[in-house]
Symmetry: C2
């Protein structure tokens, strides 16, 4: 992509109320645009990053047998009344609206009820199980406050996977698989060594759920980590019983701030029972389907990557999620030099490289500052100086290392 | 994909209120699932079709310089008050909801206001123009009635492209390009010979807009077509002045029912003026940006394909948008035969073919009926009979032609 054709530009100013580093850098780099508090558009560079994250997630979910579908945001009140989650006193972050005929409808913040109802078409016998489905789809949550940039939004993309199994053992088995798949996702997105699988409240249905927490000062959560065991406990559930359960010692735990990038729950029959999702087992008995839910917020993941991979100049994207792999910055002045730069761009494109080509008329200083802000892993500088040597200068955004390469 | 692993099944029953053929066939084939009237989920097979359509659209939009972004559904009241479109008396199909603090917000049915405001960050000089952006994103429209299946939904995916140009001439030039790109999309989706570019009302901003109408008895629109000139006029604007304008004769026109699958508008300064989206021209003068909007409903397009490509047995997908290219139906009984079928499946997958493999234990009759309903272009039947000849039987879903091929 030629930068002269890309409609966005880096911005000097960000909204004054934007306090989160992720929102500041992503806004200045024109990855995102704020519509309202907690409501962000994805601009072309941001959408490229988001799609890369989504595809990593997709690959890992497909690898554990996930089948992708796409559910609606509009939610049928009747279904949610069955599970007892329609009431604003039970769920305090609903957005609700109305059809023209007055029928109240909700905007989905999750999809257990929808899927439990839908699956009644497809599950009747134990032979139909297990089923694992997921979607990458927009969720709405009416947050009271929203000041963490794209990490806590009122409207956001979520990957939510749901498991439907015959027994709790099958649920446990898949749950462990999902844990590994989640770690693969975070590893591949460049968060590997910062992620702690964290014990958190299991709500009314399980003793624990698990959160995937990323160590970061920008986090809204407080967790207690055991560095050796690579385990953590959310502050909310830290007590003697839990420590004993997990074989952890209070004295060996460190307090840390963290960002939750994923969570997994064993919901068992919490939703299948009220929604009457049952199957006939081998023994001829009618039993409720056992459910689990597994969430990752790709947008929040993107924000987290920025929080942990940046410096005072800008973002430092891991290769796996970078909007482009190469930022070709031309400092060429004469027509002949510019022709050489164009030639190099064409050559890289022919090699199927993902290149953002800064072919703008601007000063070297401005171009370098923009390049550091946007944070593409490799910066290729082509100038009269490098052309004298028949070379391009390659700088690694992360290490700062520079080398020359013949072109 | 092995059909034993695909969680969906064909269904015998569809909701009783489902009158549209597209909804009946797509529901029975488990491409979609109805949540409420005009609110449909996409199940795995349906999502595959939708993604193919979206990718065709994406390629054609990129080819004319479109840059993809992704805007939010939640809409800021202030922006829409500026254009005068917040009022329910002006726009009668808004869905509106509220933040916890009481602030009213809308759910986007289109995005001119949002983009005009956003572009103020990126457009200041004539040098910044033209800009063409598009998204494939969920729209909400509070339709009073919704009985045409996925062709008129309350929540639906839409591809909306917006052009920002310096002059009306530039708008006209891009508008013609977009017309061609649209025809490419419909051609590639298998609607080519049924599409009529149809003159329709230009609203308050232009004499005409153009609709892309597909001839079909299932259509909600009435148009008057000139078969020779491949032009049509929407009934709404059919009058002597229009006929004279277009050089058409009333006597040469035929009345026809049609489905609108796309529409393009020259909005000029209708939104840029109230939202104060201006640029400084070469002559130093401040001028409003000239806008155009270009919409396609991928879900409606999918529904239209079904309306025009089906028979009494089921859907007949064009190759370009089919969920899979080959439906491998195994009638094998013995373990040895089944091994041969598995081997053929593996071989096709290795050849990068998209295959749905019916490896279920079911009767030939049931399998053939399901295969016809799902409508994959080629049916490969492998059975003891075909294996005797070392062959597979290939049947074309559209022509019904059968041939044997060595495996």
């Amino acid at each position: 992509m030629r930068q002269t054709e890309l409609f966005t530009k880096t911005l000097r100013e960000v909204p004054k109320d934007e306090v989160a580093v992720n929102a500041q850098l992503l806004t200045r780099g024109s990855f995102i645009h704020k519509e309202m508090a907690g409501v962000y558009d994805y601009l072309p560079l941001g959408l490229r990053v988001l799609n890369k994250i989504n595809n990593i997630i997709r690959e890992e979910m497909n690898a554990i047998g996930g089948q992708e579908l796409f559910l609606t945001s509009l939610q049928d009140k009747d279904l949610w009344e069955k599970s007892g989650r329609w009431d604003d006193k039970v769920v305090d972050n609903w957005f609700k609206t109305k059809f023209k005929n007055g029928t109240e409808v909700g905007l989905g913040f999750t999809h257990e009820e929808t899927l439990a109802a839908l699956m009644k078409n497809y599950i009747s016998s134990y032979r139909d199980l297990p089923i694992f489905v997921y979607q990458i789809q927009t969720k709405f949550r009416n947050e009271k406050r929203s000041k963490s940039g794209i990490m806590r939004c009122r409207e956001f993309i979520m990957k939510d996977l749901y498991s439907f199994t015959r027994t709790e053992e099958e649920l446990d088995e898949f749950y462990e698989k999902a844990k590994k798949a989640y770690m693969n996702v975070f590893e591949r997105c460049g968060l590997g060594n910062l992620i702690y699988i964290t014990f958190a409240s299991g709500g009314t249905f399980s003793k624990y759920s698990h959160e995937f927490q990323t160590l970061s000062e920008a986090g809204e959560d407080t967790i207690y980590i055991d560095k050796k065991k690579k385990l953590a406990v959310n502050k909310e559930v830290l007590n003697d019983e839990v420590l004993a359960d997990l074989g952890l010692k209070r004295a060996e735990l460190e307090e840390a701030k963290a960002i939750e990038v994923g969570n997994i729950f064993k919901q068992k029959t919490k939703f299948s029972e009220p929604l009457d999702l049952t199957f006939t087992d081998e023994d001829g008995k009618c039993k409720p389907v056992i459910m689990g839910a597994y969430g990752i917020g790709p947008g929040r993941l993107m924000g987290t990557v920025v929080e942990v991979h940046h410096d005072d100049k800008g973002i430092i994207w891991p290769k796996s999620v970078a909007p482009y792999q190469i930022h070709l910055v031309s400092l060429c002045k004469t027509d002949e030099e510019k022709k050489q730069a164009d030639k190099l761009y064409d050559k890289l494109i022919k090699q199927d490289k993902e290149v953002l080509y800064d072919d703008r008329e601007a000063s070297a200083g401005e171009k370098f500052a923009d390049s550091d802000l946007i944070g593409i892993p490799l910066r290729y500088v082509i100038s009269s100086k490098t052309l004298e040597e028949g070379s391009v200068e390659i700088k690694d955004r992360k290490t700062g290392k520079i080398k020359m390469e013949k072109i």
